[in-house]
């Protein structure tokens, strides 16, 4: 599975059971990235992807996603050593938000692609793709 997350400058992911931020341009980029494949989310994320038809809603997206499918993770940290994870797609907000949940990408992951683009409410979004070493 491919894991998609959004992080702030301190690798923060969420605060008080809520996302740190959102950006409609990022949501649109995720839609394009996923293409025809399944995008697994929790019900919490549904509002962000109203235009996406191939959504799969689950309380445990990582448990249900199969190889080659995407999981958009918003509120919970994860074990980056999980062997089921094929790739990380990280959107960086390039700002700092409150955080009580964060994600640290382990050294076994190598940054393979970087792309920058303006967001709707963010001056610059950085999209990073990490693959296993």
């Amino acid at each position: 599975m491919y894991i998609i997350i959004c992080l702030d400058d301190n690798n923060g992911l969420a605060f008080n059971h809520r996302r740190q931020s959102q950006d409609r341009i990022v949501a649109e980029d995720i839609r394009k990235t996923v293409g025809e494949k399944k995008l697994w989310i929790t019900d919490y994320s549904r509002k962000l992807f109203q235009a996406v038809s191939n959504l799969e809603i689950s309380e445990n997206p990582k448990e249900e996603a199969k190889k080659g499918e995407y999981v958009f993770q918003e509120l919970e940290t994860l074990d980056t050593d999980d062997e089921q994870i094929e790739q990380f797609i990280i959107y960086r907000w390039n700002r700092v938000y409150p955080a009580d949940v964060s994600v640290e990408i382990g050294a076994e992951w190598k940054l393979t692609e970087t792309e920058e683009f303006p967001g709707f409410s963010h001056e610059k979004i950085t999209k990073e793709i990490y693959c296993r070493e």
Binding site: N16, Q20, Y97, S121
Partner: protein
């Protein structure tokens, strides 16, 4: 700090001098929101232990239902008899957000203000003029009712993350966030111990934004006398080569001449000023630090 008798400047009944962006429908809500729940107990806030802010009341703000407004407004509490800020409240909507860059705020000297530098502090200056309601939310510039003396750490690590969160939400959803910031002063201290920050998205009843935190007015490596704002390095950060340096001209408000073409700034009497073409000539009143922050470099001849 914890042992001191607590007198929180919560201004239970306040008068407001500014109602910018206020609609009539928001008026009654404003009046309700001028108080903060008496249940906030600063004595229960743990001492700073390395985190810039701490959740209060399980991150649930003290707003009552009547205080939540889906009409934008902003209010800034009157200064107390010691000249200290009290409480600032806003229902932040896109219509309050600024369309221009922030202006000069150097003329405001909040209580406890000292211009002092430490090499190990980000940006070197220990104190910032901290907007209680951040400029990016309501576009308020040099309003003395909205500016406290806050450490760089409070400003950047404690308050800015929450301002960013609120600003993004409002921009993305075009809805409102109820936002209240209350500086907490112990006794007659001129420097706030910190600020209580509350935020709740209105139209979705907190689904998008919900927080209630106390942000500490501390600076790692610096010991602060909250009665006066005096400070000294506490020795816990070893690369403090300058110790404490009171600055003079760099933080004084002055008028400079800008060359908008070369992006240099000059003293008004500098001989280079005469060579500036009229279309590139501009004047700026503020501090040297602010001129640099706006992207201008000091002239090497007159060294402003």
């Amino acid at each position: 700090m914890r042992a001191l008798a607590m007198v929180i400047c919560l201004a239970l009944t306040m008068q407001f001098a500014s109602g910018c962006g206020t609609t009539e429908s928001a008026q009654s809500t404003q009046e309700n929101a001028t108080t903060i729940a008496e249940t906030f107990d600063f004595a229960a806030v743990p001492a700073y232990d390395g985190k810039a802010y701490v959740a209060v009341n399980d991150n649930v703000p003290f707003f009552t239902e009547e205080e939540l407004s889906s009409a934008s407004y902003e209010t800034y509490g009157e200064l107390d008899p010691l000249g200290r800020c009290t409480v600032c409240v806003a229902s932040v909507g896109q219509d309050l957000m600024p369309a221009e860059e922030r202006g000069n705020i150097g003329a405001v000297k909040p209580t406890g203000w000292h211009t002092v530098k430490y090499d190990f502090v980000d940006g070197k200056y220990l104190y910032n003029r901290c907007h209680l309601i951040g400029y990016q939310l309501t576009g308020e510039n040099a309003n003395e009712k909205n500016l406290i003396t806050g450490t760089r750490y409070l400003n950047i690590e404690g308050m800015l993350p929450f301002e960013n969160m609120v600003a993004d939400y409002v921009k993305e959803t075009d809805q409102h966030v109820m936002y209240r910031v209350t500086p907490v002063f112990e006794g007659d201290n001129l420097l706030a111990a910190g600020v209580l920050m509350e935020g709740k998205s209105v139209e979705d009843n907190g689904e998008g934004v919900l927080f209630c935190v106390f942000a500490y007015n501390v600076q790692p490596g610096v010991s602060i006398d909250y009665a006066t704002g005096e400070s000294s390095a506490d020795g816990t950060i070893v690369n403090d080569t300058s110790a404490q340096e009171e600055t003079s001209q760099s933080e004084e408000t002055q008028t400079y001449v800008l060359n908008t073409n070369t992006h240099k700034f000059h003293k008004p009497g500098c001989y280079s000023v005469e060579k500036i073409k009229p279309e590139n000539y501009a004047e700026f009143t503020g501090t040297r630090e602010e001129a640099i922050a706006y992207g201008y470099d000091p002239c090497k001849n007159c060294n402003p």
